[in-house]
């Protein structure tokens, strides 16, 4: 099996065996979304109005909270060191780990989003846009988040610092994602927003693994 696939398979097997990560991200997503009606009030019209924003912010936070799982465990038990010596360029290893992270976090959030959209009484036109933007946007969350995870590797309790570093960089993804759903809901043309979101993710694919690899390399020295 190609080493790239082997790294993904390894991470997926670990995630399945350890089980908790995906489950925790989903529960956090559900919980955060449930807080909003309790805070804003159950009035359907208001909920429908804020639904796209709430769903995206909650999904974004859920994805961010599971980022330290990306490198931390492997860093602490020496696996990351062995991975860098596997003959596969570090950027490739990081990209493989990001894909595994997306499959165990971004994808489940994507599948849960429509269910939660019902909770928030989101209008029907928005569902397609919600799924499309989440499909395109959540990989960008894993890619950009990987840089933060790599930078805070050597930091004890780096979780809070990770969120401070990563959340500002998530803002464009959030804005384009939500604006696409809003456009769809109001029957406007959502294409430009979706295309911008896709541009972000496509740009992130080569750049973020490279930056994360640089950050990982220096914390391994």
């Amino acid at each position: 099996m190609k080493p790239f696939g082997a790294v993904i398979a390894r991470d997926l097997r670990l995630a399945v065996r350890q089980g908790g990560a995906t489950f925790l991200a989903l529960v956090f997503f559900l919980l955060t979304v449930t807080l909003f009606p309790l805070g804003i009030g159950p009035e359907p019209a208001i909920l429908a109005r804020v639904a796209p924003g709430v769903l995206w912010v909650a999904a974004l936070l859920a994805a961010m909270l599971s980022l330290d799982r990306l490198f931390q465990a492997d860093f602490e038990d020496g696996s990351l060191e062995q991975l860098t010596l596997s003959g596969l360029p570090l950027g490739g290893i990081v990209l493989a780990k990001i894909i595994a992270h997306w499959l165990t976090t971004g994808l489940p959030l994507l599948l849960a989003a429509p269910v939660l959209a019902v909770l928030l009484n989101m209008s029907d036109e928005g569902f397609a846009a919600l799924l499309l933007t989440m499909l395109i946007g959540t990989p960008a969350l894993s890619l950009i988040g990987a840089i933060g995870a790599a930078l805070t590797l050597t930091v004890r309790r780096g979780g809070v610092l990770l969120s401070l570093l990563v959340l500002p960089l998530y803002i464009p993804v959030l804005i384009f994602g939500v604006s696409a759903i809003d456009a769809a809901v109001h029957g406007l043309n959502a294409k430009p927003h979706v295309l911008l979101l896709a541009a972000l993710t496509l740009a992130a694919i080569p750049l973020c693994p490279w930056a994360s690899a640089a950050a990982v390399k220096l914390s391994l020295e």
Partner: protein, 202 residues
């Protein structure tokens, strides 16, 4: 042939060692000697391209390693202080995943486990193993991978007498197949015709 010419190493602003040369020809073993903190681990990490040397360069059959680091990494196996063994995976999986990632042959996994006496634990999740058994799993990867150069940093840590014997046998077999070994260790590994490299504290 693996050579190091005029290698220097710096940690923070302090110079650990400089002007260091070494040479390992196929089938040979080089043991690093010196007090703690004299740079044995650093030299091994430089040889493994995990650490950039402050000066000097590494040569493999005369070619500078820096030109093709990925190739160099594919032909070495580094055993550090940490075992990189995942508790959730079984012993076999812990060894096999690394041979997949390093493209080495699958069949050597069983031979590797047998060489370190952990074949009976093949399907036990690693979290139930002792530290010594974790260490044997990590060392078993040496046999499972086709690495020509073994870089061992205190390999016998948490190994019992029997484990150390397994390691000696594995090193002997490796050297018989023209493999090379560079190790930092205090315990007498009881290997014949070994070169020594004395590292002086700065």
């Amino acid at each position: 042939m693996f050579q190091g010419r005029d290698i220097a190493c710096e940690r923070g602003e302090r110079r650990i060692f400089s002007g260091l040369d070494f040479e390992i020809s196929p089938g040979q073993a080089l043991v690093l000697r010196g007090p703690n903190g004299c740079g044995k681990t650093s030299l091994l990490r430089i040889a493994a391209t995990l650490l950039k040397s402050a000066a000097g360069n590494l040569l493999w059959d005369g070619a500078d390693v820096a030109e093709a680091p990925e190739e160099h990494r594919a032909r070495l196996h580094f055993i550090g202080h940490q075992d990189a063994v995942k508790g959730a995976l079984t012993v076999r999986e812990n060894i096999a995943t690394w041979s997949n990632i390093r493209r080495s042959a699958e069949d050597r996994v069983d031979a590797a486990m047998a060489a370190f006496g952990i074949a009976h634990l093949a399907d036990t999740p690693a979290q139930y193993l002792s530290a010594g058994q974790h260490r044997r799993t990590a060392l078993a990867r040496l046999v499972a991978s086709r690495a020509a150069l073994w870089l061992l940093d205190e390999p016998t840590v948490s190994l019992d007498a029997d484990g150390t014997a397994c390691l000696q046998r594995a090193i002997m077999d490796h050297r018989a197949e023209k493999g090379m070994v560079m190790a930092a260790t205090h315990i007498e590994l009881g290997l014949d015709d070994v070169e020594f490299l004395q590292l002086k504290p700065q």
